[in-house]
């Protein structure tokens, strides 16, 4: 973790972080930090970038981070030493986010805890998010800070630009535009625009840059706003406080039918990998077992009535259950930000099947999104006219 540096140094350097979801946003994230450095360089500033090494290999969905550092006073060597001779940084002037579901927290590694996305934002710093949400919608998930900072929202969707097939949808330069607007001290609008013109040579790119510049909306977040962060930060034991021989106790051999009936890895939950979560219409379920059978994260808990509860704490939101489910509308992937807790859906259903169904249908809305096979080729959306009628389940 970063060593604290003196005030003069603080004022003379700027730190930028981009948070993204692993492999399918890797190229996008790298482009943003790379472009920032080139632009700052064209302004005669000192700048360089690096990535959080321990994120490699960057699994899809798993939160990763890239950094860029800027200064007018320090040599590149000094900047490297002060800002980033380390695996991770502990504060940033701008924390940017390429997928707004990350505002619910990050857990990039085991024994790391779920950490707030705004953890590194400094006083009066900026949290820059691509999102279609309102500020209130996002702030309710954020950690309460003891100081005020700014939330900047660029209207847009998370771009999963892909790997071998890269979707060049302008999200990269859109972010540059937004940064030029909210942090002119980092990159200057004209220089940035010049750079985009020279580098990408297309009107769409310049339009995207402009749209980012013009559409970004900044709101002040006061110390009172946000939530009391519920997740503790694990402490790291001293060398003589844990067993020699690189030994870790296995997960206990425990299982019983019902929600949370299976013992799971307590120190590394994967829930923060989700962009969408599977929503189950238990009333439509035919108990074919396929969602449970094909879940690569062992998230479905068999229930006494032959249904399969979902443990959202561990679900990574891959969508395999929705894909394999043979019943129309029985399992649908829904935006993770529509949900504020990880409670057992089966228990809510059992308590009151009708209101559970009504509630999730509201959260599902009418819009259905179907990703194309090749990630970078985007997704097709469709509208359902009316939700499938509630089906009285025969008690099993």
């Amino acid at each position: 973790m970063a060593t604290t540096t003196n005030i003069e140094q603080e004022q003379s350097i700027q730190r930028f972080e981009v948070n993204y979801r692993g492999i399918f946003q890797k190229t996008l994230a790298y482009r943003i930090t790379k472009d920032l450095v080139y632009i700052a360089h064209s302004q005669g500033r000192t700048a360089f970038s690096n990535g959080r090494y321990s994120d490699d290999p960057q699994r899809n969905g798993v939160p990763c981070a890239n950094f860029a550092f800027f200064s007018d006073e320090h040599s590149e060597e000094e900047l490297e030493a002060i800002a980033s001779a380390k695996m991770d940084i502990d504060r940033a002037n701008i924390v940017s986010v390429l997928d707004d579901t990350m505002v619910k927290g990050l857990e990039p590694w085991g024994h790391y805890g779920i950490r707030p996305i705004n953890e590194k934002v400094i006083p009066n710093g900026i949290l820059l998010v691509i999102s279609r949400r309102t500020p209130e919608d996002l702030v309710r998930f954020l950690d309460k800070k003891p100081f005020s900072y700014r939330l900047a929202i660029v209207p847009g969707d998370a771009s999963f630009a892909g790997l071998w097939y890269y979707r060049n949808d302008g999200t990269d330069v859109k972010m540059l535009g937004a940064i030029a607007k909210v942090a002119p001290s980092i990159i200057n609008y004209d220089k940035a625009k010049d750079y985009v013109r020279k580098t990408y040579k297309t009107d769409q790119k310049i339009e995207a840059f402009e749209s980012g510049y013009n559409s970004v909306v900044v709101t002040e977040v006061a110390p009172s706003q946000g939530t009391e962060w519920p997740y503790p930060k694990p402490t790291l034991p001293a060398w003589n406080e844990f067993e020699e021989g690189i030994v870790v106790k296995a997960v206990p051999n425990q299982f019983k039918i019902g929600p949370r009936g299976l013992a799971r890895n307590p120190d590394y939950k994967r829930g923060t990998s989700k962009t969408q979560r599977p929503i189950v219409r238990f009333d439509l379920c035919t108990k074919c077992t396929l969602c449970w059978y094909e879940c690569p994260d062992e998230c479905f808990d068999p229930t006494p009535d032959g249904l399969y509860d979902v443990n959202y704490e561990y679900c990574t939101g891959c969508g395999r259950c929705a894909e394999v489910c043979p019943v129309n509308e029985c399992i649908v992937m829904v935006d993770e930000l529509n949900f504020s807790d990880n409670k057992s859906p089966w228990e809510s259903f059992r308590k009151d099947p009708k209101s559970y169904t009504k509630d999730i249908e509201e959260k599902k809305g009418k819009r259905r999104m179907m990703p194309s096979f090749v990630t970078g080729k985007g997704e097709s959306t469709s509208e359902v006219h009316s939700s499938v009628a509630f089906k009285e389940t025969t008690k099993s």
């Binding site: 290999p57 892909g162 071998w164 690189i246 296995a250 051999n253 120190d267 994967r270 891959c318 894909e323």
Partner: protein, 338 residues
């Protein structure tokens, strides 16, 4: 898919009296011994390969994992998703680690230092570790008389190291070692190494070799694990694991890609029981789907043009129509001459 669930008539239970094979998904054991909380990608097929082999084997098992995705992703110190005893082994150490554990346990039991019981010994290695670097050690393991199983989970690249080509990467696939470029469209011109058949043909001690796909046909892979563990002696299973990360497709579709690999015939499914080949999906008899439908759903082939698809189709057809043992052994012997 759902229709195939309750059938699966072809388990051949009678040949494996010591194995309790599944013939109905509703009878699959519900407990997990590889459980939630691992750093695998969304939709990771290899994670299912882990989950299912240990479910089929049960808690009286010791496991080693060779360096690779299923090592690095699964166990982030000081946490673990494993319920059973598990240990890391070196990239090329898969076969040897299995020998070591099997020998150690047998010696201790024979000398009465620990109670006699059947403890399953399993190693998993990736295509880089198992198919390339570690193949000598696996070959040696298959020459012993120990009861052990080596599973090679094959995601057709070094997906843990930035997706580099291995000898099991299919022709033409983009990897960081075989990028497409302005001069070369196709950099990777090697055809996939035929590991399972090679090992079956070369090791007279080995009673069971199989290829598998984690979810298709349902229960097929888990039953193959049960057969391998019950037949006695060293055994080997090669699984094809569609990899959303390295193959560049949406994690939702890992299962579908697996089905397509089997149904297009590009990945033959079979088991070789005491030298007898049995197809668990016979792509020579059933109508094969054009391989293009499999390839064009993956970003790693996004640079393919018609002639590339045709070339791969040609090879797949050859595999099923010209090989002496279709889909298994490319040798063309007297049978074909006649």
């Amino acid at each position: 898919m759902t229709t195939e669930l309750d059938e699966n008539k072809e388990t051949h239970q009678e040949e494996f009296p010591n194995a309790k094979l599944y013939n109905n998904v509703h009878k699959i054991d519900l407990q997990e011994f590889y459980t939630s909380g691992h750093r695998t990608c969304q939709g990771c097929e290899s994670a299912l390969v882990m989950r299912d082999f240990i479910k089929a084997s049960g808690p009286r098992t010791v496991v080693t994992g060779a360096t690779g995705c299923m090592y690095v992703a699964n166990t982030s110190y000081m946490t673990t998703p494993w319920v059973v005893p598990w240990m890391h082994t070196q990239l090329g150490g898969g076969g040897s680690s299995a020998i070591g554990m099997a020998a150690g346990l047998r010696a201790l039991m024979r000398k009465g230092k620990i109670p006699k019981e059947k403890i399953n010994v399993i190693n998993f290695s990736g295509d880089l570790g198992g198919g390339d670097m570690g193949i000598g050690g696996i070959s040696n393991a298959l020459q012993t008389d120990y009861d052990l199983l080596v599973i090679m989970y094959d995601n057709e690249s070094a997906a843990n190291t930035d997706i580099q080509a291995t000898n099991l990467t299919p022709y033409g696939a983009q990897t960081t070692f075989s990028p497409t470029g302005t001069k070369e469209r196709i950099m990777h011109k090697r055809w996939k190494k035929n590991v399972a058949a090679m090992l079956a043909i070369g090791h007279p001690n080995c009673n069971y070799v199989a290829t598998a796909c984690a979810t298709f046909p349902p229960m097929d892979y888990m039953n193959k694990v049960k057969k391998a563990l019950s037949i006695g002696g060293p055994t080997f299973i090669h699984t094809l694991d569609p990899c959303p990360k390295g193959w560049d497709f949406h994690p939702r579709y890992s299962g579908d890609l697996g089905h397509l690999a089997v149904e297009t015939g590009i990945f033959p499914l079979y088991e070789i029981v005491r030298g007898e080949v049995r197809y668990t999906y016979d792509a020579s008899k059933k109508k094969r789907i054009p391989v293009r439908e499999y390839l064009e759903k993956q970003g790693r082939f996004s640079h393919f043009v018609d002639e590339d698809y045709e070339l791969v189709q040609l090879k797949v057809d050859e595999m099923w129509e010209d090989w002496e043992i279709p889909g298994v052994a490319p040798i063309k012997g007297f049978l074909k001459v006649k």
